[in-house]
């Protein structure tokens, strides 16, 4: 059986591949959404922090002999800490200003971080091997699925859904959501809102770092890995709707699939298809697919 001249079996493979790439989009856009939803900051440094996550994994292995599993914990902590410093020293001064200021600041920070890493480590990337437990693959009949990629899907889905649950379904999440609606009132109830906001930023950034560690064995650990990805992820966020948690998860996975299919039917357009969709969505639903109009 074929669809438009492509065997259906091949399409199953591409669907799965799309989901894997979508997992990265989902994790990154989730962090962006959380940060935007609660801080009103368009965090352009997200790509650079994702890259730092991968580098922390690399350093941990090279300098301290700490492997992949340890890095899954260490990298989010280290980069999250960087995020806290960033928020305390710079971002908190911008909350009362227009979005544009936050965007410019974080964009500048991203350029500085990337520039420093590129200067130090070049642009061709550094090798990072897949952990021994996750090497090899399954033969699914219609495709060869590397174990590591399967792990990426499962793990990121888990992280995404947990995050969604915490924010939408728990008491802590309700404080967070309330604080975005009316910080003064929440403060009056005795909750330390500024600290909560700082920790939220740290958490969003830690998610990016976690995605970076997940990406390290697949791509090279490369100073430019975030810069290449962040523009696409922003398109994902815009399509899903700024600030919508579930929206960014669903859109992330869905666009990964769309991109995967484009690579089969018209590969030349695979790096533009998401932006075409973004343009269409903005025309029809300016608030994004899952966004609420302000």
């Amino acid at each position: 059986m074929t669809v438009f001249g492509v065997p259906t079996q091949a399409l199953f493979g591409q669907l799965l591949i799309g989901l894997i790439n979508g997992a990265f989009y989902a994790m990154l856009s989730l962090g962006l959404s959380v940060i935007f939803g609660l801080l009103n900051i368009i965090n352009f440094a997200h790509g650079a922090l994702y890259m730092m996550g991968a580098f922390v994994a690399y350093f941990a292995l090279q300098w301290a002999g700490l492997g992949y599993w340890a890095s899954l914990v260490i990298a989010p902590l280290v980069v999250g800490l960087v995020g806290l410093v960033l928020e305390r020293t710079m971002l908190k001064r911008l909350y009362h200003l227009d979005h544009l200021y936050g965007l410019l600041l974080t964009f500048g920070v991203a350029l500085v971080i990337q520039g420093v890493f590129r200067n130090e480590f070049g642009s061709s990337g550094l090798p990072y091997v897949i952990p021994a437990q996750l090497q090899g693959g399954y033969n699914l009949g219609f495709m060869f699925l590397p174990v590591y990629r399967a792990w990426v899907i499962v793990f990121s889905l888990l992280i995404c859904l947990t995050t969604w649950y915490v924010i939408e379904r728990t008491r802590l999440g309700s404080y967070l959501r309330a604080a975005t609606e009316n910080p003064a009132l929440v403060q009056a109830f005795g909750i330390n809102v500024p600290r909560m906001i700082t920790l939220t930023y740290g958490f969003g950034v830690a998610l990016a770092a976690l995605a970076g560690v997940l990406a390290a064995p697949i791509y090279q650990v490369n100073p430019l890995m975030g810069a290449d990805l962040i523009i696409v992820v922003f398109a994902v966020v815009v399509i899903g709707g700024m600030g919508s948690i579930m929206g960014s998860i669903v859109t992330g996975f869905a666009l990964g699939v769309v991109e995967g299919f484009t690579k089969v039917f018209y590969p030349e357009a695979s790096n533009t298809v998401i932006f075409v969709i973004m343009a269409v969505v903005l025309l029809i639903r300016p608030a994004g697919l899952f966004g609420r109009t302000a």
């Binding site: 591949i17 642009s123 090798p127 590397p146 590969p267 030349e268």
Partner: protein
């Protein structure tokens, strides 16, 4: 007012004196290194090429000879429009005499035309398209280090002859990828092989799994990578993950640089064979250069592109010295007339179509057990003699070649 007029007269006089003294325009030879300073080709060209040009100027002894040489550089961001704009600005406003390097064939073809229009000089080391000495050849351009025909001839031939007779191409979707794919396909077909399919991916692509699945499904014995830099390393790395090699298919890295091998690591890169025209560990002279270069380049050893920049700038300066002029068209003619000789490529010549001729080598990446450490990566499989390494001069359709 009077002071200004006096100054103008003085300046004119001084300028006149300068021109009378030396034929070198404005007394300075200005070399512009135009390449990728920030993206996927930045390690294999980038600042390394600027350093190579600088080392050529030092080794030539420009200071002692009283020649004033200045080197500037710019990032073309792999965009032909940005590259063209820089080239025009350099030639028109900044008095640049010669542009060197220019990886990315798309940008190089644009600069090739601008250089010709302005009557300047262009020494290509980074770009690969064999069209630069074919239908786009120019009296103002020399294509120095390698080209797609040489890569196809070296790697393609070797692979087809050892049984790799069915191919699937993963091609970077721009001038370079297309030219490389075309030249390799010709070699495959000529040797009785078959091309089962091809897919074109955007430049600087991150995830290759979709394309790799298509390559896998084609059942071709050889997956030809008509791409370069980060695109090549990502293809190979992800190919290993998808069990391409274990499944009985093999990669042909059609353009691989030592920085790519370094980035991949030997466990992944071992056994790859490919064609290059330079490796730092070939003889005492190349080793001396490699060591000196790496010390000044964060430990990164020279790629063949860096070596080509060094060699071409050295020959350019020799020609300027001989001609006592830096007129672009005349210099290129002089460079073609003079035999070349330098520590990195040995003795060589430049053909009327602008092709620099020297041997090429088929290298194989060592096993981790064979390597003595970082940057000890290649062993030589075959040396392709200079006269066989490049496309015969009458087959390129270059209008400069009289038939």
């Amino acid at each position: 007012m009077r002071i200004i007029r006096a100054l103008t007269v003085l300046a004119t006089l001084l300028a006149g004196v300068a021109v009378a003294h030396a034929q070198v325009s404005d007394g300075v030879i200005k070399i512009g290194v135009l390449n990728d300073q920030s993206s996927l080709y930045a390690d294999l060209t980038g600042q390394g090429s600027v350093l190579a040009a600088r080392m050529a100027v030092e080794d030539f002894g420009a200071d002692k000879k009283g020649m004033k040489v200045e080197i500037i550089f710019a990032d073309h961001q792999n965009k032909p429009d940005v590259g063209s704009q820089v080239a025009r600005q350099w030639y028109d406003a900044d008095k640049v005499d010669v542009i060197v390097d220019v990886p990315n064939s798309g940008v190089a073809l644009a600069v090739n035309q601008i250089t010709r229009d302005k009557g300047k000089a262009f020494l290509v080391s980074g770009a690969a398209s064999s069209d630069l000495t074919g239908k786009a050849c120019s009296p103002n351009t020399i294509h120095w280090t390698y080209d797609t025909w040489a890569l196809a001839n070296g790697t393609g031939n070797a692979i087809v002859k050892t049984g790799g007779d069915t191919w699937f191409f993963l091609t970077a979707d721009y001038a370079f990828g297309h030219a490389l794919e075309r030249d390799v396909e010709a070699v495959v077909l000529k040797n009785g092989g078959k091309v089962l399919g091809k897919v074109r991916h955007p430049l600087n692509n991150q995830d290759f799994s979709s394309f790799l699945l298509q390559a896998q499904a084609s059942k071709a014995k050889i997956i030809g990578l008509a791409n370069a830099g980060g695109d090549t390393t990502n293809s190979i790395k992800q190919g290993a993950e998808f069990g391409i090699v274990r499944g009985g298919q093999n990669f042909a890295g059609l353009l691989v640089f030592i920085t790519d091998v370094h980035a991949l690591g030997l466990p992944t890169a071992q056994g790859l064979i490919f064609t290059e025209t330079f490796y730092w560990d070939m003889n005492d002279r190349t080793r001396a250069f490699g060591k000196k270069f790496a010390e000044r380049n964060r430990g990164i050893h020279p790629t063949m592109i860096h070596a080509g920049v060094y060699s071409s700038v050295l020959h350019y300066l020799k020609a300027v010295e001989a001609l006592k002029s830096d007129d672009g068209t005349k210099i290129i003619a002089k460079m073609k007339e003079m035999p070349t000789d330098d520590p990195l490529f040995g003795k060589g010549t430049i053909r009327p179509d602008g092709r620099k001729i020297h041997p090429a080598y088929l290298f194989e990446v060592k096993k981790p057990s064979e390597s003595k450490g970082a940057w000890d990566y290649y062993k030589t499989r075959t040396t392709i003699p200079a006269e066989q390494a490049f496309r015969p001069v009458d087959q390129g359709d270059c209008p400069l070649v009289k038939k």
